[in-house]
Symmetry: C2
Subunit: 231 residues, 2 copies
Amino acid sequence: MRLVVAKCSVDYEGRLRAHLPLATRLVMVKADGSVLIHSDGGSYKPLNWMNPPLTLHEGTPDEDAAALGAVSTWTVASAKTDDKLTINFHSFEHDSAHILGTDPGLIKDGVEADLQRLLAEQIELLGDGHKLIRREYMTAIGPVDILARDAKGATVAVELKRRGDIDGVEQLTRYLDLLNRDPLLKPVTGIFAAQQIKPQARTLAEDRGIRCLTLDYDAMRGVDDSAGRLF
Amino acid sequence: MRLVVAKCSVDYEGRLRAHLPLATRLVMVKADGSVLIHSDGGSYKPLNWMNPPLTLHEGTPDEDAAALGAVSTWTVASAKTDDKLTINFHSFEHDSAHILGTDPGLIKDGVEADLQRLLAEQIELLGDGHKLIRREYMTAIGPVDILARDAKGATVAVELKRRGDIDGVEQLTRYLDLLNRDPLLKPVTGIFAAQQIKPQARTLAEDRGIRCLTLDYDAMRGVDDSAGRLF
DNA sequence: TTTTGAATTTCGGGT
DNA sequence: ACCCGAAGTTCAAAA
């Protein structure tokens, strides 16, 4: 990884055009060729970047750039698309290179897939006597997160979200419309389950006869006997 | 901006849990407090990060971390949420600080808004004799990108995308269903316009009687007399 | 301030 | 390889 802190201007041309006026920024060149240009604020997203595979050419500024005071120009071109990044350097404050090696990678825990696994294992959270039919029950319009059977034997479709929003209710509604056309499953009721359910979504769901279920991930994780195995 | 290259392990706990095993990485601390942890590959997205406002505490490792060889521990806590990042440093390879100043910011050109403006100005790209009714024509289910009238006086609804995908066709279909219920507008035909239209989207669109229009942004920009004013 | 939709989205899983 | 959907989405603009 090469780290360059320098006063520079940047132009990107590809899927869009973008221009960065002259200022001091960090230019990061990763081992795989990625180029990232960061300012000293904002978020984790760089101001500009290029993804590999690419070619990086360090050259002399063209006439216009030189007239404006550029002393070095990097031309970064994507090997696959016609994206191009041009960095005109005016002065360098820092330039260092480092060997980092490959990263073992991030281990995540607590995403929707985990919620789904936990809810399938603790299916009675839906209500006493509920039995799991299956996860990711395929339909023509996509997979229903969880299909279950309640104590009375009626089918229950569960839409699972980390954050329950209107579109999740719409999604479940479409599934319910479809599933209720199947005489073998009919009648199918719906449960909208999420860690957090927005008031609007709750109102819409209940208006459509869909039950809402707020999930406590930490509690569910506590019940799960495999909890903590990652750390 | 502070740049630290060090062998470290990282734990994040917040909206999810995540763990990074011991490896050499770049830890970037921006002037606004943001902390970014980058590996030497991947994309522009850091492995872990924390957004401001936050507090950064440099302390000594706890017993467990020290036993594993940690010599310094950073605790980064969000001031607003309960997100927390813990970095256990085992050895430092580089540590430098730099004054960058505020960034003048990025100037973009060529996003969907530009496309829409250009297409509205060059409405005859839809076909000879087309007239603009209005941009962002509001309906109960959202704004239609462009509403126009063709040479015969029939209404035309345009859905505009940078990259034309199935969901864009679905969106336009919903608009057309709605607009065709309005006796004042009926009959309304649809045009799906995008810089790139995926084959599946094109097939679906044409199957529904929606015309597809591929837009050449550079050509449209060339026609626009305000082109190039940004640079 | 909340909400809505785009993004040079990225990223991962499945087919 | 493409397709689909989640994301600690982030981000900006509009309501």
